[in-house]
């Protein structure tokens, strides 16, 4: 829909000769280049500490991996304790019906996670879920999909990993479906157009 600007319309016909040719060249380069991309708030904010810590981070790669593993273990343990505690309280308190461990795909092999699906009074229409992940690339959004018969079947929500991928991120989501035996979940990057799953970053262990 946008019309292509004409150099005569832009600057009139005052410039001539070499100057005109010079402006014409720049005009054509601007048309070819297209607009500069719109920056996200994160990029607009300027360089972050991670850029200038990159070297040290690389030197500490082994230590970082160990920290990631430790953080993942803590996350799994925390989810386990939370589930155990809620069961111990008995009565009407929620308890995890399903616990699924995630492992990173080849895109993010260091990532791990745990998902728990909880019982609730309106189970059958909305199943609350607690998802803990660690090691996913930061400042990115991710989607959780219910997988049925080996295919993504329904979206269960979106979450974002912020500034540090060494700290576990725990979010509460919902599976607004009737859950069947054999259902599993995956975590993906947002897909094109936002309506379909993107690349899978976390898959069930042993999947």
């Amino acid at each position: 829909m946008s019309r292509e600007p004409n150099l005569n319309d832009l600057i009139g016909d005052e410039a001539t000769g070499a100057e005109r040719q010079q402006l014409q060249n720049v005009h054509e380069m601007l048309l070819e280049a297209g607009p500069p991309p719109e920056l996200s708030d994160t990029l607009e904010a300027g360089p972050n500490l991670g850029m200038t810590l990159g070297q040290q981070q690389r030197q500490r790669k082994v230590k970082r991996r160990a920290m990631l593993l430790l953080a993942a273990a803590i996350a799994v343990f925390a989810v386990f304790v939370a589930g155990y505690a809620s069961r111990s309280t008995g009565g009407g308190g929620p308890h995890a019906l399903i616990t699924q461990q995630f492992t990173g795909t080849k895109l993010v092999p260091q990532a791990q996670g745990t998902l728990q699906v909880w019982n609730s009074q309106d189970a059958g229409t909305n199943w609350p879920m607690t998802l803990s992940v660690v090691g996913l690339p930061t400042n990115s959004y991710y989607d959780v999909y219910l997988v049925r018969n080996g295919k993504p079947w329904g979206a269960c929500g979106t979450f974002r990993v912020g500034g540090s991928n060494e700290s576990p991120v725990t979010v509460t989501l919902s599976a607004p479906y009737t859950i069947h035996s054999g259902d599993t979940w995956v975590v993906t990057r947002p897909g094109r157009g936002g309506s379909e799953p993107g690349q899978t970053v976390l898959k069930p262990v042993n999947a």
Binding site: D9, Q22, P36, G50, R189, G194
Partner: protein, 208 residues
Amino acid sequence: MRKNDGDMEIALEVPQPRLRAVPSDPAPPDDSPSDAELLARVGERDREAFEILYGRYVRSVFGLALRRLGDRGHAEDAVQEAFTAIWRSASTYRPERGAAGGWLYTVARNAIVDRLRRNGPSADAELPELASLEPGPAQQAEQSDVAWRVHRALEELQPRERQVIELAYWSGMSQSEVAEYLHLPLGTVKTRTRSGLARLAAVLEGEL
């Protein structure tokens, strides 16, 4: 919602172009350090120099990444990795071997290619299998190079010049509409456009 359809968005929502804030006073005459000087300072771990360099190149790097990766999330990751690489290897830059802009382009492109490889075959799988009228790799590379240089050169304009250039070329508005939008006489808009184009030409010729 992600914004991969920027042109359409601009065309439909005028006047909401992707403009940056324009200070009330024009920028002072340019006596800022060159890219090569900044790289030398970055090589000595000067964070202020790194911030200036980032401001000059982030749009070029992000634009390049977006063209190659086609996904804003991946492109943002690539920007992070490109500037990490620039910070890490700035001390290896040798001015006698070429312009700083070319060195930065190479470092950024390598980081983006690394990201592309890491995304693996699943990224390729997203590409359509049908024959395409899109430019081939060589033409895409040339377009990327032009975009890199032009977007970098735009950063050298005074904000008011950059504003009229961006409006004139990418908002879909006519010069009269630009003048009305900016509450400026049409002659002033044309003068600023011409001086902006001349300045861009000088920057591009000096840098290339």
